[in-house]
């Protein structure tokens, strides 16, 4: 029965979205949220049913497809509107619909005063639909539809309060940055598709078909494909260099941040790489790239997170950082570890975001943690759950994050694709994570209240619809890790076993000695506690220290605070566009000498190398020649680009005529 009801899982939220979008304005709010929450909850129920159906099957048969409709049928090339359920997607739909339901419920309380209430829920539902479509699809093409769908929905939801221009800009930024990644994604799967088709005559985009025929593709193509797909993943999952949109995306409503930017959408990249594991295991170079990028992201995002003052920005960078861990996981070939972390992260990060939402709600919209403090007494539930989540994310033993992070770090150390460097970055990241999370908790909930008198009076615990989701997620954050307990504890890693059929082509984890495992675990626990302790020292014991530190490491602090000026860099040098190349080149030395050199000198060798290279290039007059060349070539070419449609049409027609005359004559 359930095999043929899979299609309902995504369609239910879609129905909710359509109803709310079309007639939501006329419906009472109670009905609007009932539709939204009800549809996603039903999806969750169905997902659970599907999950139980799945585990009732023997392990090697845990896969079935629900084909609804032949979407594209061109000769032998056929794309079905089909939904694939296997352990991986089962886990994903559970996360998406489960966490999604909780966040929907939370939104009822959070958005209760908003004037575009129905539209919000419509978008939220639409998002859930797109995400479910993404994880359930049985072919890359359909997955791509979901992929684009979540991109669109994130655009709509980030810019939901579009009255403020920054919010609209943030939405646009997310959309555009995602498009850049999508380009890589499209290029990747088309490359795979055509190569496979040309080589073998198998024109298909189905995962199953691809999987069984992947060996026929040359490794070089697989590597290229893998990297291109990963470019897509960096866009969607906010990895270096395309992570810039995510912190800005905090402009949206907080539940949206929780849903999109913590629990679901950003994990799409991880999921996609896990889904394509059969490809990646054949392209170890691509895996290495993933692991390195993931590790760098995990570390750098954590450093930025250290100094952020906006509660949501801290969480945003922590998300980027944690996503980096997931990529370390999948990048070193430990796909199930990555997915495991994805799941636990979904729990505790959603909880963190919702908790921060609760805080913001209580603070009447204030997001700056410097203006908070001492909230623990007034918001007991929020504080408690928030601390649980913090313990989970910092990797305190016993909480969910501990098991997953440890799993990843262990695999990073022992995997042939990983190594000490990656492991080290991971551990450093863990220290930093513990530090900034503790800092966040201390600044927000403890110490002296720093908000103004007026705000202080209004602080109150959030309504039930908001605290109940917090509690649910808190339970999950605390206990969710036990399904993936490493075998060193003497139990079976249930989670890994469950996913094993999907990743059977993955690498075999070398049997490391238990000693090694214990040691590594100890190191990470130590890392967590050192971070916590450090933060406690800085922000609870010696509270003047942070300011002094910031003073004495002014430039470094400024770099961190301004996120390494990456946004500015992108804005100036990438967005500026090709036509302005000349201007950019002529302005290069002034800007770079002032901005980049100072920073580079103090930041370290790496950047100063980069800078030095720039310097040499700029000093070299040859660049001017290049610039002039571009300008003069552009001058010739721009004559063609008159901006007049008719001229283009004339060329089009004459070109077409030329082509046709070959055919006809």
């Amino acid at each position: 029965m359930i095999e043929h009801m899979i299609w309902m899982i995504p369609v239910l939220p879609l129905t909710g979205a359509i109803i709310n979008l079309l007639i939501g304005k006329r419906l009472p709010r109670r009905v609007v949220d009932s539709i939204a929450v009800g549809s996603i909850s039903l999806s969750f129920v169905l997902a659970v049913t599907a999950y139980f159906h799945l585990i009732s099957l023997p392990a090697d048969q845990r896969q079935f497809t629900d084909t609804v409709y032949t979407w594209i049928g061109l000769g032998s090339f056929q794309v079905n509107l089909a939904f694939l359920i296997d352990p991986l997607s089962a886990v994903m739909i559970l996360i998406v619909s489960g966490v999604g339901s909780v966040i929907h419920l939370y939104s009822v309380g959070y958005m209760h005063g908003d004037k575009r209430y129905s539209r919000y829920f419509a978008f939220l539902n639409l998002f859930a639909f797109a995400m479910l479509l993404l994880v359930l699809s049985s072919s890359i093409l359909l997955m791509f539809v979901g992929w684009e769908g979540v991109g669109l929905c994130s655009y709509l939801l980030i810019g939901f309060w579009f009255e403020k221009i920054e919010n609209a800009r943030a939405g646009m930024k997310a959309f555009v940055v995602n498009r850049i990644g999508d380009f890589g994604f499209i290029a990747g799967f088309l490359l795979l598709f055509t190569t496979l088709g040309v080589k073998t005559g198998i024109w298909s985009l189905d995962f199953s078909v691809l999987k069984s025929n992947i060996a026929l593709v040359p490794v070089a193509v697989l590597t290229a494909t893998g990297i291109m797909l990963f470019v897509g993943a960096t866009g969607k999952s906010a990895q270096i260099p395309l992570y810039v949109w995510l912190p800005d995306a905090m402009a949206g409503p907080t539940p949206v941040s929780a849903l999109i930017h913590a629990a679901t959408m950003v994990t799409a990249g991880v999921y996609m790489i896990a889904r394509m594991n059969f490809l990646y295991v054949l392209a170890p170079d691509a895996l290495r790239v993933i692991a390195i990028v993931g590790a760098l992201t995990a570390f750098f995002a954590a450093t930025i997170g250290l100094v952020q003052n906006d509660i949501k920005k801290v969480l945003a960078y922590s998300t980027v950082s944690q996503l980096g861990y997931m990529f370390i996981g999948v990048g070193v070939g430990a796909f199930s570890a990555g997915i495991f972390h994805l799941m636990t992260h979904a729990f505790f990060k959603a909880l963190l975001f919702l908790g921060s939402g609760s805080v913001i709600h209580a603070m009447s919209g204030e997001q700056d943690i410097r203006k908070m403090g001492g909230l623990a007494k007034k918001l007991p539930v929020t504080t408690a759950t928030f601390i649980i989540a913090t313990l989970a994310i910092t990797g305190v033993p016993g909480f969910a994050g501990f098991f997953s992070k440890d799993d990843i770090l262990y695999n990073a150390y022992v995997s042939p694709y990983g190594g000490t460097f990656i492991w080290l970055l991971g551990v450093l990241g863990a220290v930093l994570t513990a530090f900034y999370m503790t800092r966040l908790v201390l600044l927000t909930f403890y110490g002296k209240p720093r908000m103004d008198h007026h705000t202080a009076e209004h602080i109150h615990e959030s309504p039930k619809t908001m605290t109940v989701p917090l509690l649910i997620l808190a339970v999950l954050s605390a206990a969710g890790g036990y399904i993936g307990m490493p075998e060193v504890f003497g139990v079976h890693n249930v989670f890994a076993q469950f996913l094993a059929p999907v990743f059977n082509s993955g690498f075999a984890v070398p049997e490391g000695s238990h000693t090694l495992e214990w040691t590594l675990m100890g190191v990470s626990v130590l890392a967590a506690f050192s971070g916590i302790g450090g933060a406690y020292y800085f922000y609870a014991v010696n509270t003047e220290l942070p300011a002094r530190m910031a003073q004495s490491f002014r430039t470094a602090y400024a770099w961190l605070l301004n996120k390494y000026y990456v946004d500015e860099f992108y804005l100036k040098y990438i967005v500026g566009g090709v036509l302005k190349l000349n201007t950019i080149l002529s302005l290069f030395d002034a800007r770079i000498i002032d901005g980049a050199v100072n920073g580079a000198a103090k930041l370290g060798k790496k950047l100063s190398d980069f800078d030095g290279a720039f310097d040499r290039i700029v000093v070299d007059g040859a660049v001017n020649a290049v610039g002039d060349g571009v300008v003069s070539a552009g001058g010739v070419l721009r004559k063609i680009q008159t901006g007049l449609v008719q001229n283009y049409l004339i060329f089009a027609i004459l070109g077409l005529a030329l082509l046709l005359s070959f055919v006809l004559l």
Binding site: T642, G643, L644, V645
Partner: protein
């Protein structure tokens, strides 16, 4: 005596009409005049559909296609004109030579 009219004649008529439409679309400076050229081209296509329906199609599907084409042309014109008028309202002109914000 005039010889019976064959399919070719209809097709050539339609081709002529189409070419005139192309000419109009390419040379007119006025957006609405361009739209008229497009209408000519659409009509040429419809003549083809109906002519094929008469001479080759065993059923009546060519005519049905022509009907769809006519209906969609109506929608197209409505939207196109709305756009033209919206453009006119902002720029006070619908001269295509002046609508060159895409100019490089």
């Amino acid at each position: 005596m005039l010889s019976p009219i064959s399919l070719q004649d209809y097709l050539i008529l339609s081709g002529l009409l189409f070419s005139i439409g192309v000419f109009g679309v390419l040379t007119r400076k006025n957006a609405i005049a361009v739209l008229m050229g497009v209408e000519l081209m659409l009509n040429a296509a419809n003549i083809n559909l109906v002519a094929f329906s008469k001479f080759i199609d065993r059923g009546i599907q060519g005519q049905i296609f022509a009907l769809f084409s006519i209906v969609i042309a109506a929608a197209e014109v409505a939207v196109a004109l709305a756009i033209v008028i919206a453009v006119y309202k902002t720029t006070r002109t619908i001269d295509l030579d002046k609508e060159d914000s895409m100019k490089g």
